[in-house]
Symmetry: C2
Subunit: 137 residues, 2 copies
């Protein structure tokens, strides 16, 4: 049984240095990322209001960073649910065993995700019923 | 003496998966990043035509990813110079001892940089004359 709970999902405000030349956001991994990062992906050009994700991982640990706009993230751990809105410059830890569904609220919303594992096709649970059964084990 | 040369700067096209829900770009570190990543930063909201960077590192290894727009990067290793234009979805390895100056060509240009070290104030060479002398050692 995977015992990650909604309570393990934590949000951080990342430091942003703004000046007339632009905005620089820093992520010192030792301060925010509790795993060695093996992969990243980033999502952009998403029509506003679009929902993506809608899966849990068996093993993969993730840290999601909103680079622009606002992402609404619906989270479920099999017994509790919670919704978080992640704004520009905010990061969020998502442990395996958490079902997460992201809605890109604004045009130009961009999400960057850091992962502790390479892509593994068999690490995804897309079916919510299968997920609920998995979490009951 | 640091012996990184212009030739060590290599550009990769990263895989982008596009569909009507947006564009997802993946970076499997084992395929592109020849160091464990300890820090990242990303730069956005840069007025087009603005120049940033203009320094070398003594120790820090970096991998720069253009997330949007086009960045023109002027590179120098103390004996040779080269200019590369990095477009959306392209990544580039920059070893220590390479002086790099980035010009953000388009409005909305965004750069993501992966680093093998935490921020260290004394790791920067901002002065080009100091850099040239350092590379002659």
């Amino acid at each position: 049984m995977n015992d990650s709970t909604i309570e393990s999902v934590t949000v951080n405000q990342l430091p942003i240095m703004r000046d007339p030349r632009g905005a620089l956001t820093v992520v010192e991994f030792k301060d925010f990322i509790p795993f060695p990062v093996a992969r990243l992906f980033f999502i952009r050009d998403v029509p506003s209001g679009t929902t993506r994700g809608a899966h849990a991982h068996f093993r993969c640990r993730q840290y999601m960073i909103c680079q622009n706009g606002v992402v609404r993230i619906a989270l479920a751990d099999g017994s509790k649910e919670k919704t978080i809105e992640l704004s520009q410059g905010q990061g969020m830890l998502v442990e395996p065993g958490i079902f997460a569904t992201e809605t890109y609220l604004d045009a130009g919303t961009e999400l960057l995700v850091l992962c502790d594992r390479p892509y593994e096709k068999d690490d995804y649970i897309h079916d919510i019923t299968e997920f609920m059964n998995y979490r009951k084990k």
